[in-house]
Amino acid sequence: MQIFRYAEQGSISFLWIIGTNPAVSLPELDRIRSILAQDRLFVVVSDAFLTETGELADVVLPTALWGEKTGTFTNADRTVHLSEQAVEPPGEARSDREIFLDFADRLGLEDKDGQPLLKWRTPEEVFNAWRECSRGRPCDYSQISYDALRGGSGIQWGGERLYTEGEFPTDPAYCEDFGHELTTGVTFSEVEFKALNAAGRAILKPAPYIPSPEEPGDDYPLRLNTGRTVYHFHTRTKTGRAPQLQGAAPDVWVELAQADAERLGISDGDVVRVESPRGRVEGPARVTGMREGVVFIPFHYGYWDRDGRNGHDRAANELTITLWDPASKQPIYKTAAVRVERA
C-alpha cells in the first residue's frame, strides 16, 4: 500500500509486480487503476496469465507456473515442500528465477572481485543460499535440504513444535525487531524493548477497541464485509480457469441479511447495486442468515472473463477503503460503509 502511495506521489517511477494482481486485490480499485495507468510510472508485470494488472502494464513477462518449474514453497504452518518440474512451460514463459537472473546479468551486477554478484543459478543452489542466510536465526531452514525434502511429503522448519521449553525469541540480541504499539504502529526503541525485560517470555500486547474510520451513517447505512468462497483463490487467476471450480462459483453475488432484504424490498436472486463513496458493484442477491446491517461480497471477481460487459462494477474492492493496519500493514477489507438497492 505504501509503495502504491509512493507511485501515486511520483517518487517511484518503476514498478515490477510479480505474481500478484493489485488491480483486483487492493482496496479502492479506481485509485489503483489510476496509479498504474500514469504515464510517468513504468509498470512491469510477471504472471502466468494476463491479469487485470497485466492489462495496465507497459511490459508483461509471461512466467512458468508450479509444475513447469522446480522450487520450494512454505505453508503458513511452516511446512516446506519441494515442487518438481513436470512439464516445460509454454511459449516464451520462464520461471521467476530465470527472469531475475537474466535481469541481474543484463544489469551487470558484480561483487568486489568482479565476479557475478549472484552465485546461485539452479533452484537447489538458491535454496542452499537461503539455508545459509537463515542459519542460526529465528526462522532457521539450515536443517532442510532438497535430499531431505525428496524423502517425504514436507518438513516444518524449526521442527514439529516451536517454543516447547516455553522459551520465545525475545532476547534483544536475537529477536528480529523491537516491535510496535498496535493502535498507532509506533516503533519501540531498543531501550524500551529492553525495559520490558521479556527474557525469553512471550510478549502479549493489549489494544483498546477503535471504531472503523468509516462507520455506517445516513447515506451509507450498511457495513460491507469482503471475503472468500472455498472454490476460488484470491483473484481467480488460476481457479477461474479450472472448469469445475469456475462452474461451482461462476460470478459475484451480494449476501444480505433477511431483515435488511425485506426492508429494501429485495428477494433472493434480484440483481442489486451496492455503492460506497468510492464505487459500485452489481450482482444477484443471496438472502441468508447473516447478521443484520452487514453486506458480504466475495472479492475474487475482476474483469478478465466478462463477456462483453464494460464498466468496473464487479470487483468488491471497488468499494473498500484505502487504509491499513498501522502495525501489520494489512489493508482494511472487512469494513466500509455502503448502501444497497435493486438495480
Partner: protein, 162 residues
C-alpha cells in the same frame, strides 16, 4: 497556588495540538494513514481538553468554551482536503509531509511537557483524581509524539533519496 494557570496552559496546548492534527491531517488526505491517524489524535486531544476543563475551573482558572470549530473552520477544512488531492500527486508533497510531521512532533512534545508540569503539581497538592487522569492521558500524548517520530523515520528515506 499556581496549578490553575498550569492547567489552563495545558488545556490550551491540547486544543492547539488538536487543531494541528486536524489541519495537517487534512492537508495530507492523500496519505491515508496520516489522515486517519491524525483525525483520531485530534479527537483524543479534544477529549483531553474536555476532561481538563472542570479541573481548571476547580483551581480557579476557567477555560473559555467557545473554541468549537465555526463556519470559517469548516470552509477551510474543505479547502485543505480539496487542495490535498492535487498536492498528493506531486513529489513535493513528501517534503511538505516531513515539515508538517516535524511540527506535530514539536507541538506534541510541548503538550507533553505541560503534562509533566501538571502531574508534578498534582503530586505536590496530593490531588489523586488529577494524578490518575494525568497518568492515563500523558501516556496518550507520549504516543502521539512517538507516532510523529516513527512517521518521520519511515518517510525520510523515500522523500530524501528520490
Amino acid at each position: 497556588m499556581k496549578l490553575g494557570p498550569a492547567l489552563k496552559r495545558l488545556h490550551e496546548a491540547e486544543l492547539d495540538l488538536a487543531g494541528d492534527f486536524r489541519k495537517i491531517g487534512e492537508r495530507h488526505a492523500a496519505d491515508h494513514d496520516v489522515y486517519h491517524q491524525s483525525r483520531t489524535f485530534s479527537m483524543q486531544c479534544e477529549r483531553h481538553a474536555e476532561l481538563l476543563g472542570p479541573i481548571a475551573d476547580r483551581y480557579g482558572s476557567s477555560v473559555s468554551e467557545d473554541d468549537a470549530p465555526g463556519l470559517w473552520d469548516s470552509v477551510m477544512e474543505a479547502v485543505r482536503r480539496r487542495s490535498s488531492a492535487g498536492l498528493g500527486r506531486r513529489p513535493v508533497s513528501g517534503v511538505v509531509l516531513l515539515r508538517d510531521l516535524r511540527e506535530l512532533y514539536l507541538a506534541a512534545h510541548e503538550t507533553l511537557i505541560a503534562w509533566v508540569i501538571v502531574r508534578q503539581g498534582a503530586m505536590a497538592v496530593r490531588d489523586k483524581e488529577l494524578l490518575e487522569l494525568a497518568k492515563e492521558l500523558q501516556r496518550e500524548t507520549d504516543l502521539q509524539m512517538k507516532w510523529a517520530l516513527t512517521h518521520i523515520k519511515v518517510s525520510s528515506p523515500q522523500v530524501l533519496a528520490s
